[in-house]
């Protein structure tokens, strides 16, 4: 026989903690592999050109998003470039790659390298917003030990324009 008994309301609704941990293996694709081989082995930065609109993509994209044409013509671009946009992140948000708060402040920018028509995300050495500006000239600082990732570039450092 089922015991049936009324249950009264509780005062405060509970919260239930849960920590989601997932692991992924993201395939780079051939274009990214070629880029990261050059970066790791020679500290060189490669771009790829759209045969239709002639835009040079850095990072390299396998397809030009505007022309919908495969990109094939590779070439080296400079390790110096210009800030297209920049900020200093002060908000200590949860970093989804660690589950912990990301250390702040850090300089974050999109950078167009000389010889490229597009721009890439990277860190800036500078963490004072007063000392960075759109149009500023910067140069890549490569790591000594490189593994084949965008973090083979430590960050970008301001240089005299």
């Amino acid at each position: 026989m089922v015991s049936v008994q009324k249950v009264e309301a509780v005062k405060e609704a509970l919260r239930v903690p849960f920590r989601m941990k997932l692991e992924f293996d993201y395939a780079m694709g051939a274009h990214a592999e070629r880029f990261f081989h050059a970066l790791r082995d020679h500290a060189r930065i490669l771009g790829v050109k759209c045969p239709a609109c002639k835009r040079v993509y850095v990072p390299p994209r396998p397809v030009c998003g505007i022309c919908f044409v495969e990109t094939r013509d590779w070439g080296e671009v400079s390790d110096e470039g210009t800030l297209v946009g920049c900020t200093v992140v002060d908000l200590p948000f949860i970093d989804p790659m660690t589950g912990e708060r990301r250390p702040v402040p850090y300089g974050f920018a999109i950078i167009r390298l000389d010889g490229a028509d597009t721009a890439m995300y990277h860190f800036l050495e500078e963490t004072d917003p007063k000392r960075m500006y759109v149009g500023q000239r910067v140069k890549a600082v490569f790591r000594e030990q490189r593994t084949g990732s965008l973090q083979d570039i430590l960050h970008f450092r301001a240089v005299q324009g």
């Binding site: 609704a13 900020t87 002060d90 989804p96 974050f108 995300y121 149009g135 965008l150």
Partner: protein
């Protein structure tokens, strides 16, 4: 020829930082119950349910499965959408397509989010490409900050002008009983002294993170005329996409190709030659103060570089020529999966003359937009006729 389609009813929760008294499913029920009451409909009268949110914010895969008891989906056709910030407009537009095709007579559309349950900037950072972006990316805040720096450089807008957008939004929100941030005494100085999140974006320049839900009933022409004395007719809808990577289309905020394309399409379809004159009100998905000014330019409310002038002149204030976000906008409530649909619901309330204290007089034509993935734009034109 497509059927005419209208929004006939809306329902919202009071958007707030933390709704600890209800779970996600119960939050949805609140909004749906209000929308059904607004239309004087029973759940049995609904032909299909379209809904959506941003799944990583709560970490629920298939929230439609988990929440079905909360929106009456049992035994009904239902489709879940997930298009990021635009999910609320995507869901609305999908309902529109089905009704326009004559497949249903009444569709319930729902947007919802409970951001207090997860970590929004963490989830948004997973939008970034794992190889090229995630390590540097700092959620929506970081991306908007980088884009804002470019926009400031291009247009010359100032922190004072940005602060005026924040003040307009939070004061408008005082007339909206559903808004999260209602700040009647907010000042430009307060905004400019608020905590820096990512230069130049301060806390009061950015939208809040909210718990909230919205529901709307959309109906075919014959049904709409029965259900509402003054339905909000959907005159035009458009979506436009952008290249994935921000760096592939530099100046993304200053020059929003997706927003220009989508808005020009709906203006053309709805016979709008001069949006600033022909629109009576706009509810736009602005996210941050700097973004609102950039959007004025991209939506054709002013010339390039004039976004700051528009806010200085009060053109987009409640008393101005084209009030933008009488609801207080995203800057005053951002339950992300609901946010874009709130824009549509608020635009619909304006057209229906049911916007209460935030009603703009004599609204016949309204624009609503959604912005998602830091890239793409939805645009809708609602009309009293």
């Amino acid at each position: 020829m497509a059927e005419r389609v209208a929004i006939v009813a809306t329902g919202q929760t009071r958007h707030t930082a933390k709704r600890l008294d209800v779970n996600l499913r119960e939050l949805i029920t609140e909004a749906v119950t209000r929308a059904l009451e607004d239309a004087d409909l029973r759940i049995q009268d609904i032909d299909a349910v379209f809904l959506g949110n941003m799944e990583p914010f709560e970490g629920f895969m298939f929230p439609e499965l988990w929440s079905v008891e909360g929106w009456g989906g049992y035994g009904k056709p239902a489709i879940k959408f997930n298009t990021g910030g635009t999910v609320g407009t995507t869901t609305t537009m999908a309902a529109y397509y089905y009704l326009a095709a004559g497949l249903y007579e009444t569709v319930l559309a729902i947007g919802f989010e409970k951001q207090s349950e997860g970590h929004t900037q963490a989830a948004i950072t997973t939008v970034g490409d794992p190889i090229w972006e995630r390590t540097m990316m700092a959620g929506a805040v970081g991306n908007f900050a980088v884009m804002a720096s470019t926009y400031v450089h291009e247009s010359g807008v100032t922190p004072e002008q940005a602060a005026k957008v924040a003040v307009k939004a939070r004061r408008n929100a005082c007339n909206n009983e559903y808004a999260h941030l209602q700040m009647p005494n907010i000042t430009v100085e307060e905004v400019m002294q608020s905590q820096m999140l990512a230069h130049p974006i301060r806390k009061l320049d950015m939208c809040p993170q909210s718990d909230g839900a919205v529901a709307m009933v959309l109906a075919s022409e014959a049904k709409a005329k029965k259900l509402a004395s003054r339905p909000a007719w959907i005159k035009a809808v458009a979506t436009a996409h952008e290249q994935q990577y921000m760096g592939d289309s530099p100046k993304r905020l200053a020059i929003m190709r997706s927003q220009v394309t989508a808005s020009q399409k709906v203006y053309k379809a709805a016979g709008i030659a001069n949006p600033r004159k022909d629109l009576d009100v706009a509810e736009i998905y602005e996210v941050a103060t700097y973004a609102e000014m950039a959007m004025y330019e991209n939506l054709g409310f002013c010339e390039r570089g004039q976004g700051g002038v528009l806010i200085d002149q009060g053109v987009t204030s409640m008393e101005g020529e084209l009030p933008v976000n009488p609801s207080g906008g995203v800057l005053s409530a951002n339950p992300i999966g609901a946010t874009a649909m709130i824009r549509v619901a608020e635009a619909a309330l304006q057209v229906m003359g049911k916007a209460g204290k935030r009603q703009v007089p004599n609204v016949h034509t309204a624009l609503a937009t959604g912005y998602g993935g830091n890239a793409w734009t939805d645009a809708l034109i609602l009309s009293s006729r």
